[in-house]
């Protein structure tokens, strides 16, 4: 009996296997068995855009394909965060990188320091109509490494304030044109949130905290920079955290969450979005990229700059997406032009990208009337000029351990689990450790 059953099992297994193989078709299996190496007419492009951004990027890729029918564009989307940069680094070191890849500006510097990126020369860029003055100055300058160009910024994506127009109207926070009246100062912000909370009965504002270190960091950085504070200096080798300013910000955040209950102190990223989308909160603090989510949810909302809560020069946390060309062994003029042509094509489709909420870095479009007509996206265009990027450092940047350390501590304060002083002490100790470690690049 055992014998017969086993043969039947094998048969079943083989049948399942064959079914799977035929279902998948031959192409993916072929790709799975051999790595045939790069093709002169193939352009491999890696990005980390999912969700709404992913949809738009796919549109732009299709736009490129239509204009360049003889080029095989292979676009690969990988998950945001660590695995993306790890894989990019590993692939480049292993001589099998994509031709073009997306990189956050704050991480690009580490990659450049690791000699993983090709330097872009002005004359090559000129050939494709790109030059320094055609980009947002702040993003451009922030991306230079020792005056050399390694990346082309396509946007700046700042932290913004979403608001529910209906709730704010009921709360009396809109002006005659239906836009949010400018909120100024700490009390002004508290006042606005309190009024919103009275209308919703639940919260004034939400933002992600649990399992999310990026958002609390972004909020902290925005307010802290408004006070003029800096965290790291000298490429991350020195910790220059201003304890007094940091305490001021942390105490204020704690006031909003723990003491006044205007914001939930323990909610994850998606939960914060869900609360805002369902009308349980009047405001939402997040990156502008979530505009698609709220548009899909068909709720009445608009967006504007995060208020200047602490006075002083206006500052807001932001990062930029850039396109980089990883170093590759078979680089030649033809391949360079192929890659740069793709980059230019992405810039030319800035309108599609801007619809996703990003502030375009490509000035010919940013200064155009079409962009200005795009609301609510153009409401916060000024953020690009006041953008504060993560401090440069090998352990810093989007999705890095620096953000984990900062965001974790800020989140702990907001959830009431840690005092401001304890948080500052923790930040200091962890960052000092990182600052004193020799960089791997």
């Amino acid at each position: 009996m055992n014998n017969a059953l086993t043969r039947r099992d094998l048969l079943r297994a083989t049948l399942l296997g064959t079914a799977a193989l035929t279902a998948a078709g031959c192409s993916s299996v072929g790709a799975g068995l051999l790595d045939t190496g790069p093709d002169p007419n193939t352009l491999a492009y890696w990005n980390l855009f999912g969700g709404g951004d992913g949809v738009r990027m796919t549109q732009m890729e299709d736009g490129y394909r239509k204009a360049n029918p003889n080029i095989d564009l292979q676009a690969v989307t990988l998950a945001w965060g660590n695995p993306y940069y790890t894989k990019l680094a590993l692939a480049t070191v292993g001589d099998r990188p994509p031709e073009v890849a997306v990189s956050h500006l704050t991480r690009m510097k580490t990659l450049a320091a690791g000699n993983l990126l090709q330097e872009l020369h002005p004359e090559d860029l000129e050939r494709h109509g790109m030059s320094a003055e055609k980009f947002n100055q702040r993003a451009w300058e922030a991306g230079l490494v020792d005056g050399k160009i390694y990346a082309i910024p396509i946007d700046t994506h700042p932290f913004v304030l979403f608001y529910n127009t209906k709730i704010c109207e009921e709360a009396g926070l809109l002006d005659s044109a239906g836009k949010l009246k400018p909120i100024k100062g700490q009390d002004g912000f508290i006042d606005a949130l309190t009024k919103a909370k009275q209308v919703t009965g639940q919260y004034g504002a939400t933002h992600g905290i649990n399992s999310d270190t990026a958002t609390p960091w972004r909020l902290f950085q925005t307010l802290y920079a408004q006070l003029g504070g800096e965290v790291l200096a000298d490429e991350g080798t020195r910790v220059v955290l201003d304890d007094a300013k940091a305490r001021q910000v942390l105490d204020y955040l704690r006031l909003l969450t723990v003491e006044k209950g205007l914001m939930p102190g323990s909610i994850d990223y998606q939960g914060a979005i869900a609360l805002f989308a369902s009308g349980a909160s009047g405001f939402h603090l997040n990156g502008e990229w979530e505009i698609s989510t709220f548009q899909t949810a068909k709720m009445p909302f608009s967006m504007t700059l995060v208020p200047n809560v602490f006075g002083g020069d206006y500052a807001v946390q932001a990062d930029s997406h850039t396109l980089v060309l990883p170093v590759r062994p078979d680089q030649d003029r033809a391949r360079l032009d192929l890659s740069l042509g793709f980059v230019r094509s992405m810039l030319d489709q800035s309108l599609t990208w801007a619809e996703g909420g990003h502030v375009p870095a490509w000035q010919p479009f940013a200064k155009s009337a079409r962009y200005k007509k795009l609301t609510p996206q153009s409401n916060y265009a000024a953020a690009a000029d006041s953008a504060v990027y993560d401090p440069p450092g090998w352990y810093s940047g989007s999705g890095s351990n620096f953000e984990n350390v900062m965001g974790g501590a800020v989140g702990a304060v907001e959830s009431g689990g840690m005092s401001s002083d304890a948080a500052i002490a923790q930040i200091r100790s962890k960052l000092s450790h990182l600052a004193n470690t020799a960089p791997p690049v």
Partner: protein, 297 residues
């Protein structure tokens, strides 16, 4: 057969008394058994809740999930359709299936051969080989990633199925499972075959291996499941979405569904489905396999 009376009194009983004790004991045993059953059924149902909840959520439209109850107001397969339309999930199934099946075959083959040597053959460094293989169980796979990456990269095998298959075949535990099982098979059978002139390989193939079916099942199924479920190494080694395995594909799209919880649950269900089917088809084999290993003395 129910257990006999407990609390047996320590003196001689009349027949009537004995019958009364037996009857009450039977009843108490039955009540006890029923209580046990009740408790167990409750826990089993509890254990099924997460999966049931996932299926329940996946069958709702996305909008309905923001105020979730068990009731489904508008049951729909829309989430599943969305996911299948996105195309890649079928490729993920193929990749997972191919890699897992090849590893299963490879592991059974290599591990059983090695275990046969350890169990049946006498050679000078037998204990050394034994301990050498034992160490393998303890090495955490994270530390192997960068070296393997450089190794496979230098022969251009990265981003292919082989990158996932080859490192998964040598499973140390499998060798021990087989050895444990072979040790339980009487050596006289080997002797008899040898006297008849069979070589070692014939003996292995025609005598010992057929008797080790439970071990073969166990190893085949576990290596299949472990390969299927492996996340970290394939995540880093595979960049082409068309050849990603299911866990890698799921991890890649994990954050992108946002508050579309129904879609998220649908992707989880679809990711689990093939293995569940495998389990349902081979349930008895799996259990026999586990039962036959690690317990033989």
């Amino acid at each position: 057969m129910a257990t006999l009376a407990y609390d047996v009194p320590k003196r001689e009983l009349t027949i009537a008394e004995a019958q009364r004790y037996a009857a009450s004991a039977d009843r108490r045993t039955r009540i006890f058994n029923r209580c046990c059953m009740g408790v167990l059924i409750a826990f089993a149902l509890l254990w099924l809740v997460p999966l049931a909840w996932a299926v329940d959520t996946a069958l709702k439209p996305n909008g309905e999930t923001t105020n979730p109850t068990w009731a489904i107001d508008n049951p729909t397969l829309a989430s599943f359709r969305t996911l299948l339309a996105e195309g890649d999930i079928v490729n993920w199934y193929a990749a997972s299936f191919i890699t897992s099946a090849v590893v299963a075959v490879g592991t059974v083959f290599t591990a059983s051969l090695a275990a046969y040597a350890l169990s049946r053959l006498r050679f000078r460094f037998r204990w050394l080989a034994f301990w050498f293989i034992l160490i393998g169980i303890m090495i955490p796979s994270q530390v192997l990633i960068v070296p393997r990456f450089r190794e496979l990269g230098s022969v251009n095998l990265l981003n292919t199925y082989w990158a996932v298959i080859l490192p998964q075949i040598p499973i140390a535990i499998a060798v021990f499972v087989f050895k444990q099982f072979f040790d339980g098979i009487p050596k006289d059978l080997d002797e008899a075959a040898r006297i008849d002139g069979a070589g070692f390989f014939r003996t292995y193939r025609q005598i010992v291996l057929p008797l080790a079916r439970p071990a073969v099942s166990a190893v085949a199924i576990f290596s299949f499941v472990w390969t299927w479920n492996d996340l970290l190494w394939p995540l880093l080694a595979l960049s082409n979405p068309k050849i990603m395995t299911i866990p890698v594909g799921l991890a890649t799209v994990q954050g992108t569904y946002g508050i579309r919880y129904a879609d998220t649950m649908a992707s989880a269900i679809l990711g689990a489905l093939p293995l569940v089917l495998v389990f349902l088809l081979f349930q008895r084999r799996i259990v026999e396999g586990i039962a036959g290993t690690g317990l033989k003395g």
